[in-house]
């Protein structure tokens, strides 16, 4: 008897569950053809950043505006910085309904996910509904973000080249009467760091976390993987950057600095520098700049920050794809999504509403294109660069009048990095790449932060990379680079 009971149970469960599943399937089709009429369609938008309290409130206002202009309403979902890549990867893979999503070279990788089919190819949509975008956006953006010759996303109009700088905490600079003049290379920092080390215990002379990589004049194929070509290359030879004299020298210097106590002892496992930046207990660090970045940094930290270049300004793949919006492959309303993106990138009213919130609640206008944050703005503090054309956003009172002209000049002055426009397709070497990633994780941070001695560990790392199949990946990259070069 008891046995019979046991056997019945799964059967009942199966019967029940099947009926449930069937029921659910029956419902999903249907109500599609309602478009075209007056009723606005809802666009689902996923974007990066710490979720803000007032998102729904602002989106209500945004929806009113867009419903009138182009017949769409907007539902925005924010996903926090650290979670964005993984969550979106799962959501796109499982076919979660969405229309627009943020993508970039550094979060929810654009090229890789375009290849996986997550985004809609937007070439024809752009011609038909995105004319405004084509007119305002520097053509280098759309050209540089092509994957296998096709566009899958709309880059934000912002700074185009990337330039590495040394940033300094100006309070400390002034206190010890130090000057940034003559600082350019990593080595040239030494006397300044020594002064801080000797006089300011508890302050990181060179603030470095586990994401740090010293500047070397190479264009990387994949961010933080050792494959690269030299910036002034003529033969486009792809090499292991760890084997270059520049990297060796940089790592040796880093290790010297680490031993001298210039670098936080826990650098190799430090997730971010946020704590140091909040407390001001740092003297210098490495950052990527844009025009008037010093103002931006000073404002956000609450104390003056100044910077001086440590590299040329170059247009890289990753800087072009630093912030993009793509249309989901499963979007129900791709045309409307494109119309919306077009409006977002051309209409200052919409762009600023999305960026700063509701006028009179979150901000107030103090001039034609100048605004000031109100108290409520803390409930709607958005990452400006991630939401489309930056050059439409209103200026802060401290910003110079000619801010966006300076951006344009900055963009025009940027030289092209050798691999601009080349995107590596890893699908033939995924096995090797998985093994190489593991080796990279094992050695990279410890080496880059100077925690370990490169004389010993660099050799070991290079050997282990080789054993993991680095040469196979290099050969595949070389093949693709050569092919790409031939078509240019």
């Amino acid at each position: 008897m008891g046995n019979l009971k046991k056997r019945m149970l799964p059967m009942t469960a199966v019967v029940l569950a099947t009926s449930l599943v069937l029921g659910a399937c029956g419902k999903s089709e249907g109500n599609e053809s309602a478009s075209g009429s007056e009723k606005p369609v809802e666009l689902i938008w996923y974007t990066i950043g710490t979720p803000q309290k007032d998102v729904n409130r602002v989106m209500e206002e945004v929806s009113k505006y867009t419903a009138e202009k182009i017949g769409v309403t907007v539902k925005m979902n924010m996903i926090d910085w650290g979670d964005y890549t993984q969550k979106l990867q799962v959501m796109t893979a499982s076919g979660e309904p969405m229309d627009i999503m943020f993508t970039s070279s550094w979060a929810f990788d654009y090229v890789q996910n375009a290849r996986k089919g997550a985004f809609l190819e937007i070439g024809s949509l752009l011609d038909e509904y995105g004319k405004g975008i084509k007119d305002t956006l520097d053509p280098a953006f759309l050209e540089g973000s092509k994957v296998d010759g096709k566009n899958y996303g709309i880059p934000a109009n912002k700074e185009l080249p990337a330039q590495e700088v040394w940033r300094f905490n100006k309070n400390l600079l002034d206190k010890y009467n130090l000057s940034m003049d003559g600082v350019y290379t990593l080595e040239s920092l030494e006397p300044l760091l020594q002064t801080i080390k000797d006089n300011e215990p508890g302050t990181a002379a060179l603030a470095v976390d586990k994401n740090y990589k010293p500047y070397v004049p190479y264009d990387f194929i994949i961010e933080n993987m050792p494959f690269a070509v030299k910036l002034d290359t003529t033969d486009y030879k792809v090499i292991n950057v760890l084997e270059t004299p520049e990297m060796k020298q940089a790592l040796t210097t880093m290790h010297k600095y680490y031993n001298a106590g210039f670098i936080p002892t826990e650098a190799a496992t430090l997730d971010s520098l946020t704590d140091m930046q909040t407390t001001g207990k740092w003297f210098s660090d490495k950052a990527t700049t844009q025009p008037f970045a010093d103002n931006l940094w000073s404002q956000s930290y609450g104390y003056p920050v100044v910077s001086t270049p440590q590299s040329e300004s170059l247009i890289y793949n990753w800087s072009v794809m630093g912030s993009m919006q793509a249309i989901s492959a499963n979007s129900e309303y791709p045309e409307k999504a494109m119309e919306f993106l077009n409006l977002l990138n051309t209409d200052p009213v919409l762009r600023n509403m999305v960026d700063s919130g509701i006028e009179g609640v979150h901000f107030k206008k103090t001039g034609d294109n100048v605004m000031e944050n109100l108290d409520e703005s803390k409930n709607y503090d958005m990452p400006t660069f991630s939401l489309g054309n930056v050059m439409l956003t209103y200026l802060n009172p401290t910003d110079p009048e000619n801010k966006w002209e300076e951006f344009k000049t900055f963009n025009e002055q940027g030289k092209e990095a050798p691999l601009l426009g080349f995107n590596f397709d890893p699908s033939k070497v995924t096995t090797e790449l998985a093994a190489v990633s593991n080796v990279k994780e094992e050695y990279w941070s410890a080496l880059m932060t100077g925690t370990v001695n490169p004389d010993v560990q660099l050799t070991k790392a290079i050997e282990k990379f080789k054993a993991a199949g680095l040469d196979t990946v290099l050969a595949e990259i070389q093949r693709q680079v050569d092919e790409w070069k031939a078509t240019r």
Partner: protein
Amino acid sequence: MGAIGRFFKDLNRNKAMLLMVLPASLWFLFFSYLPMAGLVIAFKQYRVSRDGFWASIVNSDWVGFTNFKFLFSTNDAYIITRNTVLYNVFFIVVGLILSVGLAIVLSEIANKRLAKVYQTGMFLPYFLSWIIVGYFVFSFLSLDRGVLNQVLANFGVDPINWYSDPTWWPVILVVVFLWKAVGYNSVVYLAAIMGIDRSLYEAAMIDGANKWQQIRNVTIPMLKPLIIILTLLAIGKIFYADFGLFYQVPRDSGPLYSVTNVIDTYVYRGLKATGEIGMSTAAGLYQSLIGFILVVTSNAIVRRFDKDNALF
């Protein structure tokens, strides 16, 4: 007719019982059995397609066993398998001895109120997430501010850079794991001890058994079925490592990988860059297959010696 009639009759007679197991059965069906269909992804190069998840699966290309290759392609395969299995064996054996031991000690404490306090105290770490435990450990092991290095300094020993020296990590990981898990398991055993018929102890006492003899001849034999079941279940998971323990607690520090890299962290680190779902599915399938084989084998062994205590 007869069979169907009997089915419904049986259904009706047992409806209370059936209703009680219904939620769990549904849960298993939806979250364990239905998703198994997704295992085909392990043999495909998964690509998103317009019409949703099922269409994506169907439209993706078959790639045979390519997705499994990365697990075995380097020397790391040996290291991660060794680490995963050895740590788990250690956790199972030492964890078992400690939890049963603690459970017995707790049950023997005369002051019941105090026993509850100890029990709760040991139970609490179980509820902490590994991230928080990771920071606890960091406060002990930090190079310049860590408790341990300061203690060492008092004894005139040079500070140790714990996060780049793998020597001590096998011990640290075992200690941290046990600290977190033992309290919980001992509560399970304690409950079983509480359920043992008191008259058995009375009989033992009348026969002149001392405490030690009572424990050896009454408590442990009575716990044996539970010990076997829990151990069998643990063996089924021997190819799964606790990701939080091996990733968060060593702060993902590269120089420690030789002793902290396990299958789960290897898969995570390997696929972070490419995000190939097919490959992670392959790894999961491989782990569960080995786990399944191990459970069936160890169960067969148990049945050989002690038929009543086997799982199935």
